[in-house]
């Protein structure tokens, strides 16, 4: 579940011009490493140098062993805790090979290699056996095995301690894109991604923003902050995306009231549900990123409550999107935002994910209101210029 609170675009004390200056300052300020330099990000498997060499027949032997192991799972994980079935595991095995073998396309082609031919790989044979054992016996998530997750058109580095970005979260970027494409206000403004994890949302949004658009992403976990920074570097977005370590809005104090948009994927699973989740999640992923308190709403409510003060404008031109646990939380948040925080959120609606589950609560200006936003934005600039 994610929370993405987009934009307010009126009655601001700051124009995009000053904002621009501001965010650039922010960027240079925080290029200094704020994250303890002792922990180092793990290099994803596919980026490691192919320094090991093994014979094709050894590789085949390993592959057959791994295939058999995957097949032996059948649907037992699925029946037990909705874990992966053997079809999925076999596909993961192919992807593991794709990442581990330097010239995978030749190796995977029937008759592409002779049995004594040497194959260059990025981990040694022992580790290959070890990795697949971890996958099957310990249910270690595939993404931690290969150290990356393919998400949208990105390949993001992930490791233990960092939540693996979910396919559902991709849609938040689509929602942001809708706003950004049609509206310069959002395209050139300052965005925040709270609880960024691997940096997925921040990076994807950073890539669709205009020259002056910026993203500040925060995460309480030092490992996440470090991995997110590494991912930002890999996509060469240091000038656009800043990662800060800290809880929710805490590192954003000096940009209060200046954000045009806010996105987040906060923990939303009720505490006592966590141990019943599939082993990949409950045993391996960071509880910090999953546990949303007694009813899973602790952080969501906090974020919604604080969002209104953080965003640039409140009132009819504001925009906000939250991702949730499902229908119940969606409904709760809609009511909460409409009644308790009434007046701040005007276009609250629920959007479903591709599986049909009500997933996002969004408060963004509809397309038909975009002109109003534009007018509002212009008025703000006018107002600011008059003040000057």
């Amino acid at each position: 579940m994610k929370l993405s609170l987009l934009a307010r675009a009126c009655c601001s004390s700051m124009s995009p011009v000053s904002l621009r200056k501001y965010s650039q300052n922010q960027v240079s300020q925080h290029r200094r490493p704020m994250i303890s330099s002792q922990i180092k990000p793990q290099i994803p498997l596919f980026l490691r140098p192919p320094i090991y060499s093994l014979t094709f027949s050894d590789l085949q032997k390993w592959q057959n062993w791994a295939k058999t192991l995957a097949s032996s799972v059948g649907s037992s994980f699925q029946d037990f805790d909705h874990g992966p079935d053997s079809t999925l595991l076999r596909r993961e095995l192919n992807w593991l090979m794709e990442d581990a073998i330097e010239d995978y396309s030749t190796t995977s082609r029937p008759g592409g290699c002779e049995s004594r031919q040497k194959v260059k790989v990025r981990v040694d044979l022992e580790e290959l056996y070890g990795l697949w054992k971890q996958r099957i016996e310990e249910r270690r998530p595939f993404q931690y095995l290969v150290g990356c997750e393919h998400w949208r058109d990105l390949v993001l580095s992930v490791q233990e301690g960092v939540l693996i970005p979910r396919p559902e979260t991709e849609m938040i970027v689509d929602l942001v894109c809708e706003l950004v494409v049609e509206n310069d206000w959002f395209k050139q403004g300052l965005w925040a991604d709270l609880g960024t994890g691997s940096g997925a949302l921040a990076i994807a949004i950073g890539r669709v923003l205009g020259d002056y658009g910026r993203v500040i992403a925060t995460d309480l976990s030092p490992v996440s902050a470090m991995v997110a920074s590494y991912n930002v570097q890999r996509y060469e977005l240091q000038d656009k995306v800043v990662i800060k370590q800290g809880s929710w809005f805490e590192p954003l104090k000096n940009v209060e009231g200046q954000l045009v948009g806010l996105v987040s994927n906060p923990p939303y699973i009720p505490s006592d549900h966590i141990c019943g989740l599939q082993a990949e999640v409950s045993k391996h992923e960071p509880r910090l990123a999953l546990d949303g308190g007694l009813n899973g709403l602790d952080d969501l409510v906090h974020l919604c409550y604080r969002a209104s003060s953080m965003l640039l404008c409140v009132g009819s031109l504001s925009s906000a999107t939250t991702i949730t646990n499902g229908e119940e939380q969606c409904q709760f948040l809609v009511n909460y935002m409409k009644s308790d925080l009434g007046g701040n959120f005007c276009y609250v609606k629920i959007v479903s994910d591709f599986a049909g589950i009500p997933r996002f609560v969004t408060d963004s200006p509809r397309a038909e209101n975009h002109n109003t936003v534009k007018d509002g934005a212009l008025k703000t600039i006018d107002h600011f210029l008059t003040l000057l």
Binding site: M1, H82, P84, T87, L88, R91, E92, W95, R109, P110, P141, F142, Q143, E149, H150, W151, R152, D153, L154, L163, I164, R166, P167, E168, E170, N265, P267, Y268, I269, H273, L277, Q278, E280, V281, E285, A289, L290, I323, N325, G326, D353, F354, A355, G356, I357, R359
Partner: protein, 451 residues
């Protein structure tokens, strides 16, 4: 200046090529008398097999040539045929073309006379450089010598004769045969390019295979067929990616879609559209009975950017995540992000699950959907045209096009062209070009050369 259509040019090409083949045939006559068993000859016969249809009269003689007695008679017939200089309907011959002394312009020039003259010249040149006629006479002489029953009484002399004979044979075979074969292949390739002149022929394509009724055996067959195309495409140097694959419960696939990327992928692969039939003893039948199963193949062109695409309205689409169970989101860690897109007005769907992110599965599924809708539109337009010309043969979907028999005998036969080979394994390993080329040539022959 007289205008020649493309097909007329093609005809001249064919004529000159036929002439080359005759040369080969003349040679094989000599060859068979003495050293017919030579492996090289068999290879040649097989080679000829690869280039069917337009050479079919010649071809029959040649392929028949590996069968003992009947063979020499046929060759003699051939020999006498060769005496009549082949000519085009307008009386042009290789010799005639040369005698015309047409200026040979740059290769890039679009002047058929230049091309025809250049080819004729090459043929003449090869013959002259090899001193073809003398060579043939000499070989015949040496062969006659070798045929003498008492030749080995003088081992030194016999060795000499046999060595020279061998070297000349090598020259004939290596130099002339190979260069002629190469030339033929090149021309054939060009001829094919002319065949692949359809609007979509140069496109990349999707190949889809669907198992027919019959459970695991036919799903296994569908998988074999898909494997055959993967290997064929790889051997041709095309990029192959699996877009969608629905595995069978026990073995094989229910259906699958692959994307084949490269020049003329659609032009070639379209020859495979239809139903493929397998006869074998099923490994899934404990009673070891013979089974017949079917797999349907569809091929969809991926139109380039320039082509007119069917406009798709976002609002007409329903995007679903399938095989997603449970609460999703943070609850679930899965690498499965399969996406199905439904085009609501037509009910056409496309799925993709083999990409590593949902975003990319969606993009791939969208590409498949776009191509399917384009194809539907093309079919609709073709049908509209057909009402006027009433010549649209039934859409090949329901048609059986090829039979693969693994038991009780071994054979693959194309029911459209009658092209057949006796080695199903090589075909199933992707050696499909013979089938494809014969079909493409045959479909051109149906249209006719006349302009």
């Amino acid at each position: 200046m007289k205008m020649f259509s493309q097909s007329s040019l093609l005809f001249h090409f064919r004529q000159s090529l036929r002439h080359t083949i005759r040369n080969v045939a003349t040679f094989s006559k000599l060859n068979t008398k003495y050293v017919f068993i030579g492996a090289g000859h068999n290879v040649t016969a097989e080679r000829v097999n690869e280039f069917p249809s337009c050479f079919s009269p010649t071809l029959k003689w040649l392929s028949g040539s590996s069968q003992g007695l009947a063979h020499s008679i046929q060759c003699r017939l051939l020999g006498s045929q060769a005496a009549i200089e082949p000519s085009a309907s307008d009386g042009l011959t290789v010799e005639g073309i040369i005698a015309n002394r047409w200026t040979i312009l740059d290769e890039t020039e679009g002047d058929w006379k230049s091309h025809a003259a250049a080819i004729a010249q090459s043929i003449q040149l090869i013959k002259r450089r090899l001193q073809w006629k003398q060579l043939l006479v000499r070989v015949e002489l040496l062969s006659a010598e070798l045929d003498k029953p008492d030749i080995w009484d003088d081992p030194v002399h016999a060795g000499k004769v046999s060595r020279e004979h061998g070297s000349l044979m090598g020259k004939l075979k290596e130099e002339s045969m190979k260069s002629l074969a190469r030339m033929r292949r090149d021309s054939k390739e060009k001829e094919l390019r002319a065949l692949l002149a359809g609007e979509q022929d140069s496109c990349s394509c999707f190949i889809e295979v669907q198992a027919g009724a019959g459970g695991t055996e036919s799903m296994d067959w569908a998988k074999m067929v898909m494997q055959m195309y993967k290997m064929w495409a790889q051997q041709r140097g095309y990029g192959v990616t699996v877009v969608d694959e629905m595995p069978g419960e026990i073995a094989g696939i229910k259906r699958a879609t692959i994307k084949v990327e490269g020049e003329y992928a659609f032009g070639y692969a379209k020859a495979e559209v239809g139903v493929h039939r397998l006869v074998r003893i099923s490994p899934f039948d404990s009673g070891k009975r013979r089974h017949t199963s079917f797999a349907a193949v569809a091929v969809i062109p991926i139109l380039g950017d320039g082509a007119s695409h069917v406009q798709i309205n976002e609002s007409d689409l329903r995007i679903e995540r399938f095989r997603a169970g449970g609460a999703g989101g943070q609850h679930v860690n899965t690498t499965e992000s399969a996406v199905r897109i439904v085009h609501i007005p037509t009910g056409i769907t496309a799925t993709c699950q083999n990409e590593r992110s949902q975003h990319q599965n969606r993009a791939s599924a969208m590409a498949v959907l776009q191509s399917r809708l384009n194809q539907l539109e093309m079919a609709r337009q073709a049908q509209m045209n057909a009402e006027h010309t009433k010549s649209l043969t039934e859409i090949s979907w329901g048609n059986q096009i090829r039979t693969y028999v693994l038991h009780p005998y071994r054979m693959v036969k194309d029911l459209r062209t009658n092209y057949e080979v006796s080695d199903p394994d090589s075909v199933l390993e992707g050696d499909l070009d013979g089938f494809i080329l014969s079909y493409l040539s045959a479909s051109l022959d149906q249209v006719g050369y006349g302009s």
